[in-house]
């Protein structure tokens, strides 16, 4: 019992430390260079699959990138370029682009806010959808799986600067990402919180959560929250500076 309490204290301390470090890092972020003219034309290659302004296309796989937090987009762009995240077309296209350019690309798409299409009605039964809703909003306390909303925001809109929103994404895409995290095809800087969580999910969990998420209408004022409202339940290396925090 005593061991457990000590353990929990240390977890709480770690989480708080991460939170403070992150808040501090946000305040110190350097100003980004002015964007070059004609960015939309420079990155026309991205929009071939991700749609005009990054709004996604109707094909049901390529995700929307418009309006996602710039830090998240930069992490993904660098991950593709450096091979931590695998998708041959993305790996190929980004191979010879600099960090500076990837930052500009991330800023460009983060600043796009085209409208969302109406959600596709889920092809799942009510019980599965309810299980998805509970996983997303409450998690599974017994299996120590945190709720999606604990990190991705109470309204699932993501949190600045590096946690993405979860609504307005195709079900196939969400399934593919969680699957990729489970088998190591997708990874993020250690400690890789999403990889750890995805490995605890069963295929049924993933199906339930993706079915519910992809069926939600996106609210008109949907946007990443400016900051976390509570410490993260897990340590995540992909958040700025957090990797430097010693547990």
């Amino acid at each position: 019992m005593r061991l457990l309490t000590t353990n929990m204290k240390s977890i709480a301390a770690t989480a708080l430390g991460t939170w403070f470090a992150w808040t501090l890092a946000l305040a110190q972020q350097p100003a980004v260079a002015a964007s070059p003219p004609g960015m939309a034309d420079r990155v026309a290659a991205c929009m071939a699959c991700h749609g005009k302004e990054g709004r996604a296309t109707a094909d049901g796989y390529y995700p929307r990138i418009a309006g996602k937090p710039a830090g998240y987009l930069l992490n993904q762009l660098q991950g593709f370029r450096d091979g931590h995240r695998r998708y041959p077309m993305m790996n190929y296209l980004l191979t010879n682009l600099s960090d500076d350019y990837l930052q500009q690309i991330a800023n460009f798409f983060a600043a796009q806010h085209p409208p969302y299409p109406p959600p596709v009605p889920p092809e799942a039964n009510a019980a599965l959808l309810e299980r998805g809703r509970i996983l997303v909003s409450e998690g599974d306390r017994q299996r120590r799986i945190p709720a999606c909303s604990a990190c991705h925001g109470a309204r699932l809109g993501g949190v600045q600067p590096a946690i993405p929103g979860l609504l307005g994404l195709p079900r196939d895409y969400i399934n593919a990402q969680l699957g990729a995290w489970r088998n190591g095809e997708r990874s993020a800087r250690a400690p890789d919180c999403m990889a750890a969580i995805a490995r605890e999910l069963t295929p049924e969990d993933i199906n339930a959560a993706s079915s519910w998420l992809s069926g939600q209408a996106v609210p008109a004022d949907y946007a990443p929250a400016s900051s976390l409202s509570a410490p993260l339940p897990r340590q995540c290396g992909s958040l700025p500076q957090a990797a430097g925090v010693t547990p």
């Binding site: 070059p36 004609g38 960015m39 034309d41 420079r42 990155v43 026309a44 290659a45 991205c46 929009m47 071939a48 699959c49 094909d59 370029r81 450096d82 091979g83 931590h84 695998r86 041959p88 077309m89 790996n91 190929y92 296209l93 980004l94 191979t95 010879n96 682009l97 600099s98 500076d100 350019y101 500009q104």
Partner: protein
């Protein structure tokens, strides 16, 4: 009669066994020129020279895995004989070249042999590096030794039998390799000789820009007549001064392409994008000018066994051109112009673009299917990217639009079939 036949068979057998054995013995035991190095007076200048040569030779690109530690090796190099994994050339004593001497390094660069005497696979382009001077070899070695040591054990190559038998490289070397430093041509200018030294030596341009034979050897490394890069499946265009190569390029166009990745005549894509981004953009203007001056003097060569697809029947050709023209108008003309004139340097011209129009069609096909970016360079930090059209166009449509642009505005490149397009649909990760 029978005795005579017996003699002939014995002699043939002896030749079949004895010749390879003799070749292996000769390759193992032949005298190795040690080169002459001047004593180093200024260590910092030597390091700077080594750093520059590492850029010129683009050592880092092959000796670094995607996302891995610089110079620690591990990048897979696909060949027709299997996959080779590049080695760790950081000064780590256990896993890198920390225990090597400058003599060992010279032996690798100039003679193509490892520290223990093993024959090196020619994917490591010692057939070019052998042209480098001992002084430059020493500078490069000093620079590599100054890098942070990274412990990463070399991954064994995954080559098919019999290519996994290193000793057989003796035969390959006997046929295709003779060590020898660059010998200046005294009838040419110092600039020309500098260009030749960089192109033939550290730059190892022939590794891609000369066609290779069935055993992976460049057939005519000094002509740079262009060829399809084995396993990578990109066409490296001819670099000689003829009409179908650089003849129509101005010096400043070529300089711009090598320094920035884009120019008035064309932009880099695929492997050359990497070469400019990681290597050529760092070269001094004088060296770029020297390379240009040298390439211009290479004699025109006929394109190497470029694939000549059957020309379709006139009615079929007309149908393809009509479809291609419509698709070009819908998808390409906004950027590349109604007459293929482009809007350089951001949107390269397609009319008279010898890399896509007059040679092997693979570059045009892959550009349409997969798009691509020139590299971020100091001179062009935010390049315009070509969108991939593979996801939205069918093989027939890609074939039609590529056939159209290869046969319009003065281009005479031949038609492309849907089957050829289909071959290039998948994009390799590395």
């Amino acid at each position: 009669m029978r005795a005579r036949l017996g003699w002939v068979i014995s002699i043939l057998l002896a030749a079949v066994v004895a010749l390879p054995v003799a070749a292996i013995a000769w390759q193992m035991l032949r005298h190795e020129e040690a080169g002459v190095a001047n004593p180093v007076r200024d260590r910092n200048a030597q390091l700077a020279q080594g750093r520059y040569l590492a850029r010129a030779g683009n050592c880092m690109a092959c000796h670094t895995a995607r996302g891995g530690a610089e110079y620690a090796g591990g990048r897979p190099i696909a060949t027709d004989f299997g996959t080779l994994y590049t080695s760790n050339i950081t000064p780590d004593k256990a896993t890198g070249i920390g225990q090597w001497s400058a003599d060992d390094f010279w032996r690798a660069l100039h003679h193509g042999r490892g520290r223990d005497g093993r024959f090196l696979y020619p994917a490591f382009p010692y057939t070019s590096y052998t042209r480098m001077s001992r002084e430059d070899s020493d500078a490069l070695f000093a620079y590599l030794q100054s890098l942070p040591a990274v412990a990463r054990t070399n991954q064994p190559h995954a080559l098919r039998f019999p290519y996994d038998q290193r000793v057989l490289l003796a035969l390959w070397r006997t046929l295709y390799f003779s060590p020898g430093s660059y010998q200046p041509d005294t009838s040419r200018s110092a600039q020309w000789n500098r260009g030749a030294y960089l192109v033939q030596g550290a730059g190892h341009c022939s590794a891609c820009h000369s066609a290779r034979n069935g055993l992976g050897a460049s057939v005519a490394p000094l002509t740079l007549a262009g060829g399809v890069i084995p396993a990578l499946d990109w066409y490296a265009p001819a670099l000689h001064g003829g009409e179908l190569a650089l003849g129509r390029w101005r010096d400043e166009d070529l300089g711009a392409l090598l320094k920035t990745g884009v120019s008035a005549r064309g932009a880099t894509l695929g492997p050359m994008s990497e070469i400019v981004g990681r290597s050529l953009q760092y070269l001094e203007d004088a060296d770029i000018a020297a390379i240009t001056a040298y390439l211009r003097t290479l004699p025109p060569a006929s394109p190497s066994a470029a694939l000549q697809p059957a020309q379709p029947e006139p009615a079929e050709a007309e149908r393809i051109m009509k479809l291609g023209k419509r698709l070009y108008g819908d998808h390409c003309a906004d950027c590349h112009g109604g007459r293929g004139q482009g809007s350089a340097p951001d949107y390269p011209p397609l009319a008279g673009n010898h890399a896509i129009a007059n040679a092997h069609p693979v570059n045009a096909i892959r550009a349409v299917l997969n798009g691509g970016f020139p590299p971020s360079t100091t001179g062009n930090p935010y390049p315009f990217g070509m969108p991939p059209f593979g996801p939205q166009l069918s093989d027939q449509e890609v074939a039609a639009v590529v056939s159209y642009l290869r046969n319009s505005w003065g281009n005479q490149g031949g038609f492309v079939s849907a089957a050829e397009v289909n071959r290039y649909r998948s994009v390799p990760l590395d």
